[in-house]
């Protein structure tokens, strides 16, 4: 398609996906705080309120538990709600409805009912908003059976994954990094209702020296590292799981068998982090025997995100950290 060279920001891509889904299905609606006339705190819903109606883009009071609960009830009753929670940190207010209700209803009720709900929420650090507006909570959600957890790293994936999330009959937590909203991706965003299935990891680029697994914004940082190292003659396979629960490990196993080296990167704190699960699964698999170097992980420090820019940067992996770790793994272990 000739229009397939459009460069959109992630916010634009997400808005396009929601608009397509709302055109396709009358049961899709959005609810959240300041998503109507305001267009969303990060501008994601934008003009959808005007394109559709106040009944389909519903501005709510500041009431996270109530909003998510109402979405669960609506999802049980034939609707497909998309909830926007203004900051992922505020999902803590709604956690009963997310973890005890939405996640468990299908299983706990013996399959009698299901919850086709998407909860979109911005996460991550780098905005100077400090500890209660900057967390990366992907690991929280991935630890609750019954939730699907999507962490898009670029606009094209965000659009295709969100369309699949809206189609999915289960609750999907869709975690968007704030720093990615306003920037275009490396690749164009296809027109139309192009869906990307949940639960399929993507090999972003292929190399022979190192397997690098990263999520969300860390994919972008890692990509820059890959390019830099390529100039030094080090070639890296970069894998973006995109859906961290359920997790597609196959491309990771296959790559580790080729490269023999594994570096795993996440923004959230290391303790109990999602990347530890990746490491554990590699350790339990036959690909473990292919390793020629110890597995290396880079994650956020085990601290609340601090305010001052130099402190905030120190709290989560930066491009230089990934670069040093990657180069060291390849150069020190041959």
């Amino acid at each position: 398609m000739s229009t397939d060279n459009r460069m959109l920001t992630m916010a634009e891509a997400l808005r396009e996906a929601m608009g397509i889904a709302m055109d396709e299905r009358p049961e899709v609606f959005i609810l959240g705080e300041d998503i109507g006339i305001y267009g969303g705190a990060f501008g994601v819903t934008g003009d959808l309120y005007h394109r559709f109606s106040p009944e389909r883009v519903i501005d709510t009071p500041i009431s996270e538990l109530g909003i998510v609960g109402a979405a669960v009830g609506a999802a049980l009753s034939g609707m497909r709600p998309i909830v926007e929670i203004q900051f992922s940190d505020f999902t803590a207010q709604a956690m009963d409805q997310i973890a005890n209700q939405a996640a468990k209803i299908h299983f706990m009720l013996g399959g009698a009912l299901h919850v086709p709900l998407v909860l979109r929420t911005p996460q991550g650090s780098g905005t100077g908003a400090a500890a209660q507006h900057s967390q990366n909570l992907e690991t929280w959600f991935a630890n609750v059976p019954g939730l699907k957890v999507v962490v898009p790293s670029n606009p094209a994936d965000a659009k295709g994954l969100l369309l699949s999330a809206i189609d999915d009959p289960n609750p999907v937590i869709f975690l968007e990094h704030k720093l990615l909203y306003k920037i275009p991706g490396r690749d164009p965003v296809p027109e139309g209702a192009i869906r990307i299935p949940l639960g399929v990891s993507q090999v972003v680029r292929e190399g022979k020296d190192l397997t690098l697994v990263a999520t969300g914004i860390m994919v972008n940082k890692s990509f820059e590292v890959c390019e830099k190292l390529a100039a030094e003659g080090i070639s890296v396979t970069l894998i973006d799981p995109r859906t961290i629960s359920p997790l597609d490990m196959n491309p990771i196993f296959e790559s580790v068998e080729k490269t023999g080296r594994l570096l795993v990167v996440q923004e959230g704190p290391s303790h109990g982090g999602f990347i530890n699960e990746v490491i554990a699964r590699v350790s339990e698999s036959s690909s473990f025997g292919s390793l020629i170097a110890p597995i290396k992980r880079l994650a956020g420090m085990n601290i609340p995100i601090p305010y001052a820019p130099q402190l905030e940067k120190a709290a989560v992996p930066q491009i230089e950290d990934i670069e040093i770790a990657a180069r060291d793994l390849v150069k020190s272990w041959r």
């Binding site: 009071p61 538990l65 109530g66 669960v72 049980l76 009753s77 609707m79 409805q97 009720l109």
Partner: protein, 326 residues
């Protein structure tokens, strides 16, 4: 259905459902006592008039959310007794295939969106069901049953406010049974009439005798009509009493035997029987036959459930998510 005193059929229905709830709960208590039932249980003996009166005012397609003490709501909305009992006994034919147990029975066919193990957990869900009804112009009403304890949860407040501002067809049905586990309403509230909280959300709040199925029905009929007319939610407080302990572990240290006995004199079943006899709607023979019918139905449910196949762990991993259709 309709008003419990409007015809012999309606009166019999109201009586049958109250007896069913009573006898179901007695059977559960017995099965627990004999070590045949697993887990825990929350009995609603003494509270039968509330769910019965409320559900008499509903249609099949209307929806409910229920609580940890939810057997009565489930039965009143029309659930199958065998499948309920089978769930409590951990059987494959149970409503949840043994995955949920007493606190998680749901029945899509009767609009029962599920009991809930979290106090207040079902209230926002009922509000969401009412939102769906309004968006889809279905004309259905959603009812959230909850106890006095749930009225101090944030979920109640957030849900009540959303229901009020969006004028949703929902009924917030508080069963004030005097205790949230061991906390009395006197210690947990600084108001006497819990329905007064409706005022804070701009919705009607009515208090009725929760042991009088006629009074409950009449309050519910008004609230349902209001909801169907697009006038928004109503908070109904039914004042009742839990005869049995909170759960298996309860030693009743927080209340007196005398108090329990006093409330047993306000038993909702004889209360209703005296009304139907006085009105000449049913004879004593009718009443006895209805009681026996309920008893037989419960015995049959227990027998069927006991003979059913036990749930097996096969397929548990596949049961977490609903399969994505291609």
């Amino acid at each position: 259905m309709g008003h419990p005193l409007s015809s012999p059929e309606h009166a019999r229905h109201a009586l049958l459902y109250m007896y069913r709830i009573r006898k179901f709960e007695e059977a559960v208590e017995d099965l627990f006592g004999r070590g045949m039932m697993h887990g825990t249980m929350h009995l609603s003996i003494g509270q039968e008039a509330g769910p019965t009166g409320m559900c008499l005012a509903l249609k099949l397609e209307d929806q409910i959310t229920s609580t940890h003490r939810g057997h009565g709501h489930c039965i009143a909305k029309g659930a199958d007794l065998t499948r309920m009992m089978a769930e409590l006994l951990g059987k494959e034919i149970g409503y949840c295939g043994g995955r949920g147990g007493s606190m998680h029975i749901a029945d899509a066919e009767t609009g029962n969106l599920g009991a809930n193990g979290v106090v207040g957990g079902g209230i926002p869900i009922a509000v969401g069901a009412a939102l769906a009804s309004k968006l889809q112009k279905k004309g259905t009403v959603a009812v959230s049953f909850f106890g006095d304890g749930a009225m101090n949860e944030g979920a109640f407040h957030e849900a009540a406010n959303l229901a009020a501002i969006w004028k949703l067809p929902v009924i917030l049905f508080c069963e004030n049974n005097k205790y949230g586990m061991s906390s009395s309403t006197e210690t947990a509230f600084a108001i006497d009439r819990l329905a007064d909280r409706g005022l804070g959300y701009g919705i009607p709040g009515v208090t009725v005798d929760g042991n009088d199925v006629v009074a409950v029905y009449e309050a519910c009929e008004t609230a349902v009509a209001r909801a169907r007319n697009g006038e928004g939610p109503t908070l109904i407080e039914t004042v009742t009493y839990r005869w049995k302990g909170h759960s298996r572990s309860d030693k009743n240290l927080y209340r007196t035997k005398e108090e329990i006995e006093e409330w047993k004199h306000l038993d909702p079943i004889p209360n209703f029987i005296s009304k139907v006899l006085a009105a000449g709607i049913l004879s004593q023979e009718d009443i006895d036959a209805t009681a026996k019918m309920a008893q037989d139905q419960i015995i049959e449910a227990v027998n069927n459930a006991a003979q059913a196949k036990s749930a097996v762990p096969d397929g548990l991993l596949e049961a977490v998510f609903k399969a994505v259709s291609a």
